[in-house]
Symmetry: C2
Subunit: 194 residues, 2 copies
């Protein structure tokens, strides 16, 4: 198997797993189902992933890496400008989370009973918390933000993002979530900015 | 069965169900388990609840009613004062949500596949959204809040509460959630208040 061929196979397995998990749920979707949908052998599957759980963790990692890349790209200008740019990421994040609620719930349920997986799911929260605390500190240093408690402000920003995401996943059509996020950041910035 | 006796039995079933759901999870806890833990017959159980799902819905309702009572009690003085009072509710809300994550996840998973239950779970979100939109409108009318978009401000407040609650359930020891909520409301109020 050439390296390029191997990467194509890996990508096909991941794409098939997204669909199977979304349709059947994480528990009900078997490795056989995923292999059939991807058109790969079980040998090829296990060459790339030791378990079904490893596929899910790779999907989670890919989703978080996409968010990180977007956050890096939004990091332009002053800190208040960066926070406003970040709301432009939300349509993509919201769209990628939509219709995956049963899958997320089933996986979290498993994670809540498995310490290793739990850490993989929890680690991103800590990462975002630190990222925004640093951003708020930068804003205070550059004089665009008031001298607030950076940890508290970061928790507020992360809570807002988590709350919006959860509500959007629960009821995608209940509100204009993009507009809600933009207005939310504007109100927050009135409290935070100099 | 006297009415008082009936109410005692109902309360015993609910208390036993809380424990069984928390220990075994919603799916694994059977009606037999709950009856044994409550020391009641299956006949008595079915006199009060048609299904195990009805027990869960009654628990959810009781939890939300407790939050509503607390919110009513916090409704004193100006709107900014009311919002600050409400953070005093959080220790109780956080404590009652702790250790119940597997149960919540399993129930939401079921709810995500059952339209009727889904509506029962989603309805509270709409209720809180309307409650806070009205509160923000009152604040604008009394002159303590800026003339912001009341729906957007309400969504911000509800998102903050949902985000804090979810993060607290995921990692109860990761932060001082009570302090985080108080600081969050203070930053929010700097953006909202006149």
């Amino acid at each position: 198997m050439t390296q390029q061929r191997g990467e194509e196979t890996r990508a096909r397995i991941l794409a098939a797993a997204v669909k199977r998990f979304a349709i059947a749920g994480y528990n009900a979707a078997s490795v056989d189902d995923i292999c059939a949908a991807a058109g790969v052998s079980k040998g090829a599957f296990y060459h790339h992933f030791p378990t079904k759980q490893a596929v899910f963790l790779a999907l989670l990692e890919g989703w978080l890496a996409m968010i990180d890349m977007g956050m890096e790209a939004a990091h332009k200008g002053t800190v208040p400008e960066t926070l406003v740019h970040m709301t432009n990421l939300l349509p993509t994040v919201f769209a990628s989370a939509e219709n995956r609620l049963p899958m997320f719930l089933e996986f979290w349920l498993q994670a809540s009973r498995d310490e290793t997986v739990w850490q993989a799911v929890i680690a991103p929260y800590h990462h975002y918390q630190e990222y925004f605390a640093k951003l708020v500190e930068d804003g205070i240093a550059e004089g665009t933000l008031k001298p607030v408690d950076a940890q508290a402000a970061a928790l507020l920003i992360v809570s807002l993002a988590v709350g919006l995401l959860l509500q959007c996943v629960l009821g995608p059509k209940d509100a204009d979530w993009q507009n809600a996020a933009e207005q939310g950041i504007q109100i927050l910035l009135k409290g935070l900015a100099n």
